[in-house]
């Protein structure tokens, strides 16, 4: 697995879910927001691989 950083989702309970390009069951379980964040992260990661110049993506925080 590639170790991609980085966003972190925080649930109301205080639990955190890392947002990585590979995704996780936690992100899927988080529902629409988790999936959207994962896809953005994945897109950013692909873009960075393609350009080699794009900086790593920044963290996303939940809106719920």
């Amino acid at each position: 697995m590639r170790n991609t950083r980085k966003g972190v989702l925080k649930a109301k309970s205080g639990e955190t879910i890392n947002v990585t390009a590979e995704g996780s069951l936690g992100l899927l379980a988080y529902g629409d927001i988790g999936i959207q964040l994962w896809r953005k992260e994945r897109q950013a990661h692909h873009a960075s691989l393609n350009s080699n110049t794009t900086p790593p993506s920044t963290s996303k925080t939940p809106t719920s």
Binding site: M1, G23, L28, A29, Y30, G31, D32, S64
Partner: protein
């Protein structure tokens, strides 16, 4: 305050898997729901096929009412097969009733719900998440998945395709996934598919409840069922027939599936908030242990053999009891409970009840005859929906992959016929489950006529005939199956044994069961419970108990076994053990009148009158015609609880259940019962006799007996034949009379010394030795006890009138006694006719008795 409710469906979730996972801390969110709410078993229905079950949940009705009978259906033009659709449902679903009353409703993924129905909110169909297309090709969403269709793009974008998933998603299920050659073993993709489908439902549902107003929101996840059908066979402990390599690779899938679902639940609980009542349910369970079948039968819907009969229910939220256990919940109870929760009336044509026990304050339930008769006009129902052929095929392929549907024949005529047969077979089973035996028989008879080559129709029809008491018809079908070697011989032997039991030939049945004990699948057949029934019916209670203990070791969760265990201990007078066993049985299968009745009787014997009354009332809910329970309730309310009004109400219902009247002539042997029968015969009352015992010098005018009477303890069916007739029943059998008839009992009294003398004389004439001759007092005491018990019983029954008639008074004052008897029988006979056969010569033991009295 608004009563928000979220209904979450987890197909096939089972407490037997969940409980150990919670103990290990793997399901913290469900643990919160358990501790903060009410949980219980949710009894499934037969047949346990998901589209039928989830429609029953949504409508509160049996499949024979709601119209969903399988997975597929022929197209309108009968030229092709299509998946079952929401348009096939014939009755209103909960979301339609709520929408019509302006509650904001959303439903996601319910099976079947395609095309998405119009409702006062968003509905997303059960085809929404399906990956019928490659991601690279754009993965177009099929039409009809979303209502309103203006929201299609919004929700299409939220779907997750299995090709998107990475090792991060798969490794929790299959940690050694890298060892699998995916060109040969496609099971990784099936895990990805199910995981993505659940994620799609979760994404759509969370999006709706985050962004839309809602009062009622429902989501259905088929994923646990699908993970289990694929991988339960690899779940620990390892089964002997499973290869070690496959076990090592896939033994964690089911555990990971439940952990994933706990995460889904956690997010939904977070979004629902504390003001929402959450109901989590499954439609059936899934055998996780030694009860897993080794092989799945190759018949339509065979995959359901892996299911177990109890799903789960967990409820949490405002007004719901905390840390509470409910008993007796079933799938049909969900819809009425939701309606009552929102203050709407429950249709009397709904087949379930409201789950009041889950609520701190019982629901204030109102009823209407039916919602079906009321025209709803706010939201339209779909009609003439046509599904794209490619999508149809893709959906059917997925059902085939799951094992629910056999590969569709390329011969469409045959495929259509097979589909119709499968659906009609399910319709028959659903009638049977709903207690509509005649309707089930009618459907099966038609199926058999049209398909004489299909053995399972013959087998199940034989079983129905047996339940109906048509034993000859049943035996004929079993013999046909045997002759043509159509069916598994062991299954036929099991059927033969139950037939013999139906014919009261318990010894033969026992012999047969013993002969196949080592050949049969003991867990599936529950052979030990049948053996126990044979023992119990032949008076061997200890052996019956022994057999039940064997059953208990094999399958503890078999309600009929606990019921029989409870009955045995009730009969033995071990009321504490009986109560425990009966409560266990009720916990597993609530809707069983006998279990509640015996529980009530055992509690009564313990002096717990109020709870005994509650149990008996419950038994009447399931079998209102059981006058045994009603008679005991009348006694409790009158004598122990001082509630004469309730006693009067039951008394009224008791008499409504009465089928007719029987005249009983009773008393001790040689107390003049034959003489009284003669009198009634002469007076024109029809006599119930088989004339097997002929007249002799002891009873020169005949005995007027019937052999059936001797079997009264075990067989009460014959009593119907004696309606409006007179039948002779010796006093010891009186308390075994069924309570669905009125009895006018003429109890013959005779001095016990005279009786003993008469009996002695009779035995001497017959050449037999009177072994009691030396102990007349002991024999007299025993006779007296039986007589007193019979009279005591009769005096407590609301359906029994009794007159005591002295033998000597009849001889000495025939007309006076005949007048009393005539009045007792409502002048159906005249005293003149009654006295004609009285023969004072019969009173020949008088002198003998005088001699005995002086001893």
């Amino acid at each position: 305050m608004k009563k928000k409710m979220m209904l979450i469906g987890w197909d096939a979730a089972d407490w037997k898997i969940i409980n150990p996972l919670i103990e290990q801390g793997y399901m913290p969110n469900l643990e919160k729901l358990i501790n903060g709410g009410t949980i219980g078993n949710l009894a499934t229905m037969d047949p346990a096929y998901s589209p039928m079950l989830w429609t029953s949940i949504a409508t509160g009705k049996h499949p024979y009412k709601h119209g969903i009978h399988g997975f597929l259906q022929p197209s309108e033009d009968r030229k092709s097969i299509k998946p079952i659709l929401s348009t096939s449902r014939k009755v209103k679903a909960i979301w339609q009733i709520l929408s019509e009353h302006d509650y904001k409703c959303h439903a996601v993924g319910w099976w079947p719900s395609h095309p998405a129905e119009e409702m006062n909110g968003i509905s997303i169909s059960n085809f929404y998440q399906k990956d019928n297309g490659l991601l690279a090709d754009g993965w177009k969403m099929m039409s009809g998945c979303v209502h309103p269709d203006s929201e299609e793009d919004r929700f299409a974008a939220l779907r997750v395709h299995p090709e998107e998933l990475t090792g991060q998603h798969i490794l929790p299920f299959i940690p050694s996934a890298e060892k699998i050659d995916q060109t040969k073993d496609t099971r990784i993709y099936s895990v990805a598919q199910v995981t993505a489908h659940a994620a799609s439902i979760q994404a759509a549902f969370t999006n709706i409840i985050r962004t839309e107003e809602w009062d009622f929101a429902a989501a259905y996840f088929d994923s646990i069922d699908h993970y289990c059908h694929g991988f339960m066979k690899y779940h620990p402990p390892k089964q002997d027939h499973i290869a070690q390599n496959a076990f090592d690779l896939y033994n964690g899938v089911v555990t990971a599936a439940y952990r994933y679902h706990d995460m889904l639940l956690g997010r939904l609980m977070e979004l629902a908030g504390k003001e929402t009542t959450i109901i989590l349910i499954s439609d059936h369970g899934f055998q996780p242990d030694h009860l897993r079948p080794k092989y799945i039968p190759e018949e339509p819907g065979g995959a359901a053999y892996e299911h177990s009969p109890y799903g789960i229910i967990g409820m949490m939220g405002p007004g719901i009891k905390k840390d509470h256990l409910i008993y007796g919940a079933g799938l049909l109870d969900i819809c009425p409970t939701i309606l009552a929760h929102f203050g709407l009336s429950v249709g009397k044509d709904m087949d379930g009840k409201t789950l009041d026990d889950a609520y701190v304050k019982p629901l204030n339930t109102n009823y209407i005859d039916s919602w079906e008769a009321i025209l709803f006009n706010k939201f339209k129902s779909h009609s003439n929906y046509e599904m794209d052929k490619d999508n149809e095929s893709a959906m059917i392929e997925q059902l085939v992959a799951l094992g629910y549907v056999n590969d569709i024949s390329k011969d469409f005529t045959k495929a259509i016929k097979d589909t119709e047969n499968f659906n009609n077979y399910n319709l028959a089973k659903s009638y049977l489950f709903g207690g509509k035996l005649d309707e089930a028989i009618s459907v099966l008879e038609k199926l058999l006529r049209e398909n004489p080559h299909i053995p399972r129709y013959r087998f199940h029809l034989a079983s129905c005939y047996q339940t109906k008491g048509k034993l000859k018809e049943s035996r004929a079908l079993v013999n046909q199956l045997k002759e043509k070697e159509y069916y598994n011989p062991i299954a036929l032997d099991m059927m033969e044994a139950t037939l013999l039991m139906g014919e009261k030939k318990y010894k033969e049945a026992l012999k047969l069961l013993k002969s196949i004990e080592d050949k049969v699948d003991k867990t599936q057949s529950h052979i030990f419970t049948k053996i126990a029934k044979c023992y119990l019916s032949t008076g061997f209670r200890d052996k019956a108990e022994e057999a039940l203990k064997k059953e208990m070791e094999l399958d503890y969760e078999y309600a009929p076994m606990h019921l029989m265990y409870g009955i045995i201990h009730y009969q033995k007078g071990n009321h504490d053990i009986a109560i425990e066993a009966l409560l266990t049985s009720i916990g597993m299968e609530y809707n069983h009148a006998a279990a509640h009745r015996f529980l009530g009787l055992a509690l009564f014997n313990k002096g717990a009158y109020q709870v005994a009354a509650d149990s008996l009332e419950m038994s009447l809910r399931f079998n209102p015609k059981n006058n045994l329970a009603r008679a005991k309730l009348i006694e409790i309310y009158k004598t122990h609880l001082d509630q004469p009004n309730k006693a009067a109400l039951h008394s009224q219902n008791f008499h409504q259940n009465i089928k007719g009247e029987v005249i009983i002539v009773s008393g001790l042997p040689r107390s003049g019962t034959s003489m009284m029968m003669q009198m009634l015969d002469h007076a024109g009352i029809e006599i119930y006799t088989d004339k097997v015992r002929e007249a002799d010098s002891n009873n020169p005018k005949g005995y007027y007996e019937h052999n059936n009477v001797k079997s009264l303890r075990r067989n009460k069916r014959w009593v119907a034949e004696s309606m409006d007739k007179a039948v002779k029943v010796i006093s010891n059998f009186i308390p075994h009379l069924p309570l669905v008839y009125n009895y006018k009992i003429i109890f013959m009294e005779r001095d016990l010394n005279e009786i003993l003398a008469s009996q002695r004389k009779m035995l001497q004439k017959l050449g037999a030795k009177d072994r009691h001759e030396e102990y007349p007092l002991q024999v007299m005491t025993s006779f007296k006890r039986g007589q007193d018990k019979a009279k005591q019983w009769a005096s407590k029954q609301p359906n029994v009138e009794m007159i005591e008639v002295s033998y000597s008074d009849v001889i000495n004052n025939p007309f006076g006694e005949a007048l009393r008897i005539s009045e007792f029988l409502d002048q159906r006979v005249t005293p003149e006719d009654l006295i004609k056969p009285i023969d004072a010569n019969l009173y020949r033991q008088r002198k003998e008795v005088s001699r005995l009295n002086t001893l």
